[in-house]
């Protein structure tokens, strides 16, 4: 992960603007209009069109190589259909290294007991399956 949380955007302001565009689902034509009419009143944005915004967004994720799509075709005898899929292991790699989930991540199974020494079953890692699978 790069040190600057806003990269590839040049400043925090820039990032916030981009994030607002995406989250509030501003249409492409409206983004063009925003820059054409200079509503932002700033001159130092790192993107000046919906197109460059998308380009920035496409390289936003530092782990994007885990999430590339592969294309495959299945043929059921009469017509061939194309479908898209990701590598399942890479998806796991992606999820497990996200800092965003680090506070809620567990790595090993445990046995939980309540005050009266009764076994507690709650989250997945407190139940038997994970313990059985552990090597």
């Amino acid at each position: 992960m790069t040190d600057d949380p806003c990269s590839p955007f040049s400043s925090e302001n820039d990032f916030n603007l981009a994030s607002w565009f995406v989250r509030s689902k501003v249409a492409k034509s409206q983004i063009y209009a925003y820059f054409a009419e200079d509503l932002g009143c700033t001159d130092s944005t790192s993107f000046l069109s919906a197109y460059s915004l998308r380009q920035h967004l496409d390289i936003l994720d530092p782990f994007r190589e885990y999430l590339v799509w592969a294309e495959a075709t299945i043929d059921d005898g009469r017509h061939a259909t194309t479908f898209y899929y990701r590598n399942i292991i890479d998806c796991v790699r992606f999820l497990i290294r996200q800092v965003a989930y680090s506070s809620d991540m567990v790595y090993a199974p445990i046995r939980e007991y309540d005050l009266s020494e009764e076994r507690l079953y709650s989250e997945m890692h407190t139940a038997d399956w994970w313990l059985d699978m552990q090597v």
Partner: protein
Amino acid sequence: MSILGLSDQTHLTNFSGDKQAWPVYMTIGNILSRTRSSPAKMPILLLVLFPVPPKFPGESARANEAQRQTNPDVLRAAFDLVLAPLQQVARDGTVMDCADGKTHLCFPILSAWIVDHAEHAALQGIGSKSCPKCEVPFEKLGRDPRRMNETHDYMPYREKALRHEPAEAAGIAEYFQRFGVKIGNNVFTELDRVSPADLHKPDPLHNIYLGLFKDMMKWVEGFLKKHKRQQEFDDAWKAIPPYPGFSVPKKAYRDITQWQGKEMRNLGPCISTVLASALRNPDSSQYQDFKSALKCVSALVDFTLMAQYHSHTPDTLSYMESYLQTFHRTKVIFLEFRTPKATHAQANLQDRELRELMAYQSAKEVRHKTIANRCRLADQERVEISDRRADLIRHENYFNFIKKHYLTHFASHVRRFGSILMYSTKIRGLAHKDQIKDGNCWSNKNKAARQILSHDGRQHALGIRLHTIEALSKVEGVIVVEDSGMEMATVPSHSTPRRVLKGRMKNTSMLTQLCTALNIHYSNMIEENLRFIRQTAVDDWRLPVDPAELRLLPVEGFAQLEIPVPDFQETDRFQIHRARCTEPKAFSNGGSRNDSVWVQTGGEANYGDIRRRVVARLLALFKIRNILGEAAAVHRLALVRILDPINGGRFHIPSRHIPVGNQINGRDMRIVNIGAVIGQAQVIPSSEKQCIVNHRIDLRTFNEIY
């Protein structure tokens, strides 16, 4: 670590071409369920996007048959491709960079596949009426299994399917039939360290609410009809008071034509109380029937409530099992209302045959009969037909349906995989909306799949970045604290939210005015106040005991009390209960509201099963300021009317409900500190003098009262 797979066939658009897609998602079990089940945190990744080919109408049946043969093979080929990377790493493990900054050796194993039953049947290659977990035969689906059936072992099925001679094909089919399996080699059998029987997860939404409750309501309707209690049921239904997280039904039960998942969830917690109210005062012939009907419904509701606990102990699991057994023991009462379609058809056929036979016979004899005779004969025939029909239905009715059978697996599932709630298909539905449907909306519908994927990619990248920044800023905050040398908790401790009074009433500045507004006799009010004051400790804060002084103190009246109630089995999350007492004003164009609340009763009488608390109706909320004392302390008080528990607060035996009295004699008012008001209660009126406390309304009340 474990991988969870989710899939669900979905409609993208209902108009313009009726497009469908079949997305498959994945997430990992290492993320705790509170993050995993929150769609805003984006823990669910889209794994595969299958297009669903359009159907070709008008093709010959033979082509369809051939299609049915190849479909599973195609499906398996596709899934093999997607799941292939798992094969190697499940056995040998692989090193991964983890969020804690270290690298771990990980063994990702597929452990769950969260889908509805129809898709399970397709993926696991089982018949639609057989259980993916065990080899239960169809006739026993509805039974209470004392002895668990054998768990499906898919390996031999696969062996059989792969190595059979063409000549044996018929024998193989028969062998599979016996276990309810259609295809030996399903999409999951090839995976290492994965037991396909374990992948199935019980699903509260589809299984309980949309499945079981829907069926149960049909039986209950039939039961009410038979005993002519429909009107009472409707009345009780309409009288359900509001409760946090519960939307009040606006129509009579019989007027509702369509049920949604949300409404079904709504119905669950209150159905048994409403039923208890509708079946009040049975006569002697009905007594036994009503008793077991109530018992049956209550057991099922108890079971579903307990199934939703976040954490279980062996105790709660055994309660769950005993509820299920009670349900199985008492379900017979509803048997006559549980008629499958096939039996209906059979009964109709039998009717028709019988009628034709009789018509033929009577046609032969008709010449010799008078009109009166003929009428009598027709009556006899009718009676005979209906008797025969009832016989047949009684004979053929059963409870063998798959959703019923799943319940038997709930407890063992908790032991192996943890709480059931976190495997709900609900998260999948939300993922659909964010990842697929929005993308489709934005695309120009031309080669939509590509556009959906890139749209989702952008949204996802941004969302993850925002969460990462948030997580990083939290970590930095802790470091700063450490630098400054202060000993502070790394996580900011959530202080308990306080009770808040809201909605100030106008024109109430003294006790007398409050009494006039509420239409209460002033002497009663003063008397109660004095009783309350005498209980409090003698100090500067205490209100004066002299009625004349009390009369002068400034008072503010309020209409609403916000009570923070901790979520069940959580400590830092709260639900706000808003108890209202709006009298004499109306509340949002309905009548005035005087909510029922639970009130803690200090060392006083211990009311049986409801344990040191009483149900009370909130009459007034007010602040009283002691300007005469030196501290000028403010007291926040509530005037409540206690609803006396009948039978000393013990459970009413058949339904395990707590009936409370509802008499108004002016002597049962009490003044309490608002701190003693624990939360809202739901009380359903059942007759003029009696109400029923619904302790099944939420998990918290259910757990505490039981």
